[in-house]
């Protein structure tokens, strides 16, 4: 245990603080300059202040209330994989504009330069506590990590490659759902990726999903819920329909914890809620215990 923490603390130092602060939902209104000149971090959940160095060491988990802040893909990968083990795959894939939706191409291009990502999911090969796997991390700073054709294609290729190489797949999900800008083509990605999940599963291979805040809509109604083992970070929002949509349907307010990770655990849809610091160890444990699968 102490070995594990030592390792994690070491890794935490590689996380670039200003990048992380920039992505906090509450700091959205502030410009980059304001943020970098402001040393304090305010937890989005309990609104209490946290010293940036402490926050980084705690992997951006609030020491007051335990809220797990949203992470971008780069930080998530740094916190999760064995140092130097990540090899990115399919990074050449980005969105087209099949419906010729006004402003979509420009939006994607702007985000590409801002986030230095080509799409809302980063895919590749990695080792987690020594265990080889194919890894995908969705990045909610890129159009709420919504799934369009590019995200669907990258994930499908990842499952297909994992099937050929007989590797487990680990996905950190976070998404607003299907990407509206690509219309029904986005919807079809749900079927495409789910088919690839089935292909990989039929080969007797392991698939772990880690549901992170927020995982919703078409991603919940496809690959996010299809893991052999489904883990979640504490207090993550996980649900099919949007809160406002449901409130509109039933005509009243929903309780605060509705669609939380804890709600999903209670209703039987999540295997375990695992705090961020323990995730790599738990993922490696599950992989180690799941190597006896054979093709159907």
């Amino acid at each position: 245990m102490s070995e594990l923490f030592k390792d994690l603390f070491k890794k935490a130092q590689y996380i670039t603080i200003p990048d992380s602060i920039k992505n906090l939902p509450d700091s959205k209104k502030k410009s980059k300059e304001e943020v970098s000149s402001e040393p304090k971090i305010v937890c989005t959940k309990c609104k209490k202040e946290v010293a940036p160095d402490k926050y980084a060491v705690a992997l951006r988990v609030c020491p007051h209330c335990g809220a797990h802040a949203r992470l971008n893909a780069r930080d998530r990968i740094a916190m999760t994989v064995d140092e130097g083990s990540f090899e990115e795959l399919f990074s050449e894939i980005t969105s087209a504009n099949p419906l010729e939706f006004e402003g979509y191409t420009e939006k994607v291009e702007k985000l590409r330069s801002q986030t230095r990502l080509n799409e809302a999911v980063v895919t590749g090969r990695a080792r987690i506590h020594g265990e080889a796997c194919m890894l995908a991390v969705m990045d909610s700073t890129f159009m709420m990590a919504s799934m369009g054709s590019a995200v669907g294609e990258k994930l499908t290729r990842l499952f297909e490659a994992a099937t050929v190489e007989r590797l487990p797949v680990v996905i950190f999900t976070a998404s607003g759902g299907a990407r509206m800008h690509e219309g029904t083509l986005s919807l079809m990605q749900m079927a495409k990726v789910s088919a690839a999940v089935g292909l990989h599963s039929d080969a007797g291979l392991l698939y772990i999903t880690v549901l992170c805040d927020p995982t919703t809509g078409g991603v919940v109604a496809s690959f996010a819920m299809l893991g052999d083992v489904i883990l979640s970070e504490p207090k993550a929002l996980i649900g099919f329909a949007g809160r406002r949509v449901i409130e509109g349907t039933i005509g009243k307010k929903l309780p605060e914890d509705f669609q939380s990770a804890e709600f999903q655990l209670e209703h039987g849809f999540v295997d375990a809620i695992v705090p961020r610091a323990e995730l790599p160890e738990k993922i490696a444990l599950i992989i180690g215990l799941s190597k006896g699968g054979e093709a159907r």
Binding site: K192, F258, H267
Partner: protein, 272 residues
Amino acid sequence: MSEKQTVDALTKFTLSRHKDRPGVRDYVSHIFTDVLELHGDRSFGDDPAMYTAIARLEGIPVTVIGHVKGHTVQANIASNFGMAHPEGYRKAMRQMKQAEKFGRPIITFVDTPGADCGVGAEERGQGLAIAENLRDMMGLRVPIISTVIGEGGSGGALGIACANRVLMLENATYSVISPRGFASILWKDPTREKEAAQTLRMTADDLLALGIIDEVIPEPEGGAHLDHIAAADVLKVNILKNLSDLLEKDKEMIYNERYEKFRKMGQYKIIE
């Protein structure tokens, strides 16, 4: 044909939801014989928004599945306006697995505004229910033919539409979101519904061009609601034509062709 071009996407969307438009039960009674409706998901209950049956299509044993909408307000309340709950999707999957066991092709009729968005649906795992249907339909070794007969509303529609052949009636629509929802989310202006319907490319002709569906089935003059029997006759001929083609193929080919068909969907760019 000239009329076709003058019908805009929003008009088609309205037509696709017309209260007199034939629903799954109307088509079933005209297309199949020896029909036996089967109920329940064997876990929670029976969802009246999802119809499942075994029947014969010109003598061939088949499994029939479809969303249920009513022609009256009362009938619509009884079937939740075609919005299925998780138990509806699980009932459909139970029947589809049984179809595979007994080698029955699966014929589905898609007609829903979307999956139910209520508290019960969330508590019973709406996301999981649809996700499992997508994965498991894609893995079935029997032919599947789906027809969007009215409204193809997002994941709720796709949950019974991962088929070898996806047909669509001329005035049906199929979309990731309603035009109003699209306009509200992307333009913050729900009144731009007409423009949204156009932009979404949700009509049968649009989706054929995008490679999402395989065939557009013509409707009687003015729309299927004006002549249920004529609409059913044309649809039956087209389902049979596709089925006889699929029955020539072996199990693995049925699986592979369906996988490859969906595998190709999507348009993206390669950079560097």
